[in-house]
Symmetry: C2
Subunit: 312 residues, 2 copies
Amino acid sequence: MTTHDMNRTVATDDMLPLLQTGLQAVENAMYNVVKSDVEVLRDASTHILSAGGKRVRPHLLMLAYLACGGTDVTYAAPPAAAVELMHTASVVHDDINDHGVVRRGRPSVNAKWGRTFALLTGDFLFTAVYQLMAPYGDLNKLLAEAATALVEGETLQAHAVKNNEFTRENYARIISLKTAALFQSAGEIGARLADTTEDIAEALGNYGFNIGLAFQIVDDILDIVGDEETLGKTSGIDVEQGRGITAIENTEGADIMDAIKRKLLSGNRLEEARQQAQAFAEIAIEQLDVLPDSYAKTELADLANKVINRNK
Amino acid sequence: MTTHDMNRTVATDDMLPLLQTGLQAVENAMYNVVKSDVEVLRDASTHILSAGGKRVRPHLLMLAYLACGGTDVTYAAPPAAAVELMHTASVVHDDINDHGVVRRGRPSVNAKWGRTFALLTGDFLFTAVYQLMAPYGDLNKLLAEAATALVEGETLQAHAVKNNEFTRENYARIISLKTAALFQSAGEIGARLADTTEDIAEALGNYGFNIGLAFQIVDDILDIVGDEETLGKTSGIDVEQGRGITAIENTEGADIMDAIKRKLLSGNRLEEARQQAQAFAEIAIEQLDVLPDSYAKTELADLANKVINRNK
């Protein structure tokens, strides 16, 4: 056994329980911050949180924190919870605009409470993000930028769908903004919470960004090939609304879903997309070279592989 | 002329141009932060900002800052802009839920861009608030609390309307949350930006809170007696949705607007509400006793009077 392996073994013993404690603290932080006196906000928020979700963003943040030498996981938990709730808020509003009725295997908030309360629940989750981050000084700048990017990405997507302007270039811009920016902030915030160097913080931001791109491409692939039971959300919505992993230009309105499916499932478009996701995951893993070996570093590399190999 | 009067005269010479510079900086901060690359977000945000609005919240914040000895009005401008944009975001979402088609004398965002883009524009304005506040450390805690309260108040109101549970007690709770909390944060943030004492910061928070209560009561009175042209928004919406300044208990659904009007316009209910607003304005003015005399202090007292005497 080399010294290198020894170090990793020791680190694993330390880090695995720390990670578990940290992820539990993230759950606690999320549930606590949505304990509003206003029943419908508390109920609707708890409904969407307790439906599960992959928690990939807070997991990424927590691993980045540990990989950069952070040890106070309860300190890192509220920002990790904030990143997940930012995603959750956008999901709740997205389901309003898309008329999604199933989310995480349960009725969506709009399906169960109606559009008015779903809109307000999404707003409430945004303010919960703000509550969680408020004590974290300049890190607010990173999450504020990511939040703006997320809304800009969602808007570009809605605009592209409405005007049937779904090109490859548009798609890249949309997923960078709506998904990769928040993953980037998770990586960078995790690193900065551990008081790491500028270079490492930037590398973990890049790691997150590329994981985010890979994640969204795989999400869109699954949206096409997956079925509702496996995905736990209304399948085909993203496609029906004119999203998708490839360019659909000059296709007429109502036929757009068919057209996307034809384009994607014929030839090797899906395979191309899978390869693209793979390439982004590899770029992500390369970013980790700046880190010393550790259990968390290995887990970050594994996360990149899991993201592209998942089936839900 | 007494020394007291002398001091006020000198202070006026200093403070009036500072106030004007500060309010212009607030406008600049608001327009700059909504300059998104995403056209529809930029256009819709600029549309609602350029329609005017009273800017009472940033005005209050800036006066509180000056009254507490602050002199760097460009430093105080971004938080003042954030408070106004928080209000603006809620207005955009409110118009979706209420189907409001006129706001500030123009088509509402949902009337002009549709519900999907109005929802996203409101979200974008929330993130603009976050961008503006991110550099201001612990002051984020104050605005985060106010933001949560605002959404809770809007939710309670929607819930009360839906379930026809509009009581006096509910009304007081709703306006405290949806309006007074943000005014409170404006007063307290303005004071704290000037590095004032705890006592004075708290007093200016209380000033804002009571101004907010008076403001909302007057708003609801105007909604009943005002006409669309004067108000610049779809009049009667707040009443039609079951809101109002007094208790409507056990009234059946469709007749609620008539019932509210009958209750309010018969007898002296309106006069009672006016007196209540007057009382809150007086409590607000009393809070100013902790401040040294100045032009800004006088303006804060005047603001309290303007809020209750306005006709739009």
